[in-house]
């Protein structure tokens, strides 16, 4: 098999018969469920764009393993050009979906594991890298979606994994057999988990002595026995169950998060990539996080493009587009959005070729990128709400608009700029609502805060790499710190009196 079509992807997802629970019920026909389907459409877009020649240079790459053209989401970056194209691809997909399109976590997981398995083998004489390369080629050859599963529930944050009262707070090995391992635990906040063919598990923190059973990385099919999913709620999600598209804001696309449970899941050895090597767990966490922090310099920017466009359109429809403060706010939103993009590109252009042969982003700049992402989308959203006006959260429902008696009244009083149909004005305001405080706000706001690590995680990485001693030396040299002081008072120039 080579590249799949969107239809083939959706059918392949249905064929997995995943164990998904939502609102206390097991959902069998999940690909057609109105709350879940928009998130599936997002990933389908990664297949659709890959088939279009005008997007090929971003969406496709040449595999270094097979020499074949593959979807970039399954590619191991081979150059700084690959790294920057990744960011541009993510911006494109954010623009096309106005949502988190979920396929990045698997891409970031394979790129992190590629170098860590190599370095583990070099140090420990293991054979993880060869088996991992075989797995990556399997993903590429079948054009599969992989979920990169890192975040454990973590329980009491003051305790290390092996001292938790409930050992399942971090996913761990419960049995080692001749043919593989058995694992138990859970991964939380899993973006796109229910839309994936495969799961790639990684530890969530740098493990210490005593945590060996928790230093585990492996892959398994998303429908492996013992794996099930509890679907996460989103603000305003039940609007998708209503019989109209208007109040949803973005009816066709959306994000997805789930709690993924591993109830004694068997993993054969050829799918295990870390098993007790605690000294490499920190590198794996940092590299996955680094790649994912780069990702946000693309995906959130694409969604930001949509929000800026929606705010500008709302201003047009309100008849306020010529107001100088509106123009200035749109400039500020653009400035913030392009700053995020600049960071995503900068950490890509400054990337390096690792000893394993793949290219990795510059860690300092990737963390700076994500630190900005924890702030700027909030300001962009605030300005969008400012421009849109209060109507975006007070306007009547689609049912009222459709009502024979009430509808004409709604239309009469919600008219804006004269040439704009009221329905279109309401559509664009609902989109702003969706992005700033509806279902998509999960991805655009809170995910910007906590996804790929909460703000403090980036500050720790920034502190570690800030090269502060060099900065001190620069300042001391210019100020003359440490040089002998010659106490010569500077004589002021005499001023001639008139």
């Amino acid at each position: 098999m080579t590249l799949r079509t969107p239809e083939e992807f959706i059918q392949s997802l249905a064929d997995l018969h995943l164990q998904i629970y939502l609102f206390g019920e097991k959902i069998d026909d999940y690909v057609n469920h109105p709350i879940i389907r928009p998130s599936i459409n997002c990933i389908a877009m990664t297949y659709e764009l890959a088939a279009q020649p005008e997007y090929e240079s971003l969406m496709l790459a040449t595999s270094h393993l097979s020499g074949k053209r593959v979807n970039r989401f399954t590619h191991i970056h081979q150059s700084t050009d690959d790294l920057s194209k990744k960011v541009k691809m993510q911006r494109l997909l954010g623009q096309k979906t106005g949502s988190c399109f979920q396929r990045c976590v698997g891409m970031d997981a394979i790129n992190a594991l590629y170098s860590v398995t190599y370095e583990t083998d070099q140090a420990k004489g293991t054979d993880y890298h060869a088996r991992f390369k075989k797995y990556v080629q399997y993903l590429q050859d079948h054009d599969l979606v992989a979920d990169g599963a890192m975040t454990d529930p973590k329980g009491d944050r003051s305790l290390p994994p092996h001292q938790q009262p409930d050992p399942d707070m971090y996913l761990h090995i419960v049995e080692k057999r001749d043919d593989g391992i058995v694992v138990r635990g859970a991964k939380a906040h899993q973006t796109g988990a229910c839309n994936s063919h495969e799961i790639i598990v990684m530890p969530t923190v740098a493990m210490r002595e005593g945590d060996e059973d928790y230093a585990v990385s492996f892959s398994c099919p998303a429908n492996a026995e013992g794996v099930y999913y509890i679907y996460g709620r989103q603000s305003c999600d039940t609007r998708k169950l209503e019989d109209n598209a208007l109040d949803v804001g973005n009816a066709n696309f959306g994000g997805q998060e789930a709690l993924m449970v591993f109830d004694d899941v068997f993993v054969p050895w050829d799918r295990v990539y870390m098993c007790g090597e605690i000294e490499f767990s920190g590198a794996l966490v940092e590299r996955f996080a680094g790649f994912h922090r780069q990702s946000y310099g693309g995906c959130k920017v694409g969604v930001g493009d949509v929000l800026i466009g929606a705010a500008a359109t709302a201003a047009d429809m309100n008849g306020a587009a010529k107001a100088s403060h509106i123009k200035d706010k749109l400039i500020e939103m653009t400035h913030l959005n392009e700053t995020l993009f600049s960071c995503g590109l900068a950490c890509s252009y400054e990337g390096v070729r690792m000893p394993a042969g793949n290219f990795q982003i510059d860690m300092l700049l990737a963390n700076v990128c994500k630190q900005n992402v924890t702030r700027f989308p909030y300001e962009i959203a605030r300005l969008a709400e400012d421009i849109a006006g209060g109507l975006m959260v007070t306007m009547p429902s689609a049912q009222d608009l459709a009502d024979e008696k009430i509808g004409p009244i709604v239309e009469k009083f919600l008219v804006g700029q004269c040439d704009t149909p009221v329905i279109d004005r309401l559509r664009i305001l609902r989109l702003v609502e969706n992005l700033t405080l509806g279902t998509a706000a999960v991805g655009y706001r809170t995910e910007s805060m906590h996804g790929a690590g909460s703000p403090q995680a980036q500050r720790i990485m920034i502190a570690r790499q800030s090269n502060i001693n060099h900065k001190k030396e620069l300042a001391k040299a210019l100020a003359g710190v440490g040089k002998p002081w010659q106490n010569k008072a500077k004589v002021p120039t005499a001023v001639q009196a008139d």
Partner: protein
């Protein structure tokens, strides 16, 4: 032996001090050997590469990558990394020297 420096905009190490500790006139160092000396992990002196290894053609095994000749010894330093391996600054010169003589 030749030393190729990065531009020096963000040095985590004292590049001049490291270079001063290298065996410039040592007979055991092969002629044509090169040390790519970058001040930080961005590895600008070696075109953003942490090792001197070449790429294999797409689809080919890594072992098929072009190998440098015996007179093309190349050591890559990027901050406190030598050929991608963490190395404290105080040990950089001796580590590079050992590699140049291997």
């Amino acid at each position: 032996m030749k030393v190729v420096y990065c531009g020096g905009c963000n040095p985590h190490i004292d590049r001049s001090a490291v270079a001063a500790g290298l065996p410039l006139d040592d007979q055991d160092v092969r002629a044509g050997a090169t040390v790519h000396l970058s001040g930080c992990p961005r590895a600008c002196a070696s075109d953003h590469r942490l090792t001197g290894e070449q790429d294999a053609a797409p689809g080919a095994a890594a072992e098929a990558a072009p190998r440098p000749g015996r007179d093309q010894v190349k050591v890559v330093v990027a901050g406190e990394l030598v050929d991608g391996v963490p190395t404290p600054e105080a040990q950089l010169a001796t580590t590079i020297t050992r590699k140049l003589k291997e």
